[in-house]
């Protein structure tokens, strides 16, 4: 992969990205990592990095973002996965070594990894 360094590269990238941006925003998968003090101390930054690496490796496009403390500090690092049309699932104790299985099971095979679930928000019926 060629390194992108300058603003020129950024312009090229923008033009590429513009083409697929709408599709992504509408149908996307959204992954949220808890990044409060508790999350950071439990290794959430490394979990986030592992998620980004795994997504890149498997060529999965997902929106990855962070959130502050949600009050379940003892389960940190917490990772929340939300997919259009599915329940929103919160996983606990997601250390980097859990990330590959999580991505494979949840995002690729479409199966919730039950034993790591700490919370679930059912899909709202429209």
């Amino acid at each position: 992969m060629p390194k992108l360094k300058s603003l020129e590269d950024l312009k090229k990238l923008r033009d590429q990205a513009r083409q697929d941006i709408r599709v992504r925003l509408d149908t996307g998968t959204r992954i949220t990592v808890g990044m409060g003090t508790c999350g950071i101390a439990a290794g959430a930054r490394e979990t986030m990095h592992a998620i980004l690496e795994e997504l890149k490796k498997r060529e999965i496009e997902a929106h990855v973002t962070t959130v502050g403390c949600i009050g379940m500090c003892s389960y940190e690092p917490l990772v929340d996965i939300e997919q259009a049309g599915s329940s929103r699932i919160t996983y606990g104790n997601v250390k980097p070594d859990r990330v590959p299985r999580l991505i494979e099971e949840h995002l690729i095979n479409g199966r919730v990894v039950q034993e790591w679930v700490v919370g679930r928000l059912e899909r709202e019926s429209a």
Partner: protein
């Protein structure tokens, strides 16, 4: 926390939660003078005078969910262990400024750690908060101004996978130029950090 960059991420997240739109983070490594300074200013809602005095106390928090707040106390303790300290003051205008100083060569000083992961984690967060990052080390400098990046990107968010990757390699290469003594020390040509010099001359 084993790395200073984790404390920095924590302080940056505080700034976001205080509603900041722009955070300025400066890391100054003066190895000859044996000093390391981490300076973070935000433009968030700020703190009351008496809260600022108590912010380094672990049993003070403005949160309603529980009675302790450990982020700043941990950072302060790390600085104090290394012949330094942590200062909390009002940022120019509004917002909060946090300055942590360390003896650079102190045996107990945690390593700076992975700034690329810290900055990326922060920049992927929501709501959007711009960052002006300056890292000086023995006369060399690396700068990143996300306002300039966003200007180039138009409506494409920083969290777009390709942008994410661009930011990651831009930051890690910039950081590397600071630590490799043999290499050319100037900033990456035509990068989004360049305009920063003009920027700091504002009144």
């Amino acid at each position: 926390m084993r790395e200073l960059s984790l404390h920095i991420l924590d302080v940056l997240q505080n700034a976001r939660e205080a509603g900041s739109r722009l955070v300025r983070l400066t890391i100054e490594e003066d190895i000859a003078g044996d000093r390391l300074i981490i300076d973070v200013s935000d433009d968030g809602r700020g703190m009351a005078e008496e809260d600022m005095k108590r912010a380094a106390d672990p049993f003070f928090t403005t949160r309603k969910t529980r009675h302790v707040g450990l982020g700043l106390p941990l950072f302060a303790a790390a600085a104090e262990r290394c012949n330094g300290g942590l200062r909390i003051e009002r940022a120019p205008g509004q917002g909060v400024r946090i300055v942590a100083t360390f003896q650079h060569g102190h045996l107990d000083r945690p390593p700076l750690g992975d700034m690329t992961r810290t900055l990326l984690s922060f920049l992927m967060g929501e709501p959007l908060c711009d960052l002006v990052y300056t890292h000086r080390r023995n006369g060399k400098i690396f700068e990143l101004d996300t306002r300039l990046v966003r200007q180039e990107l138009g409506e494409i968010p920083l969290s777009h996978p390709q942008v994410r990757e661009w930011l990651g390699s831009y930051i890690s290469e910039g950081e590397e130029t600071l630590t490799h003594p043999g290499e050319h020390s100037s900033m990456i040509p035509s990068g989004p950090g360049r305009v920063e010099h003009a920027e700091t001359q504002e009144p």
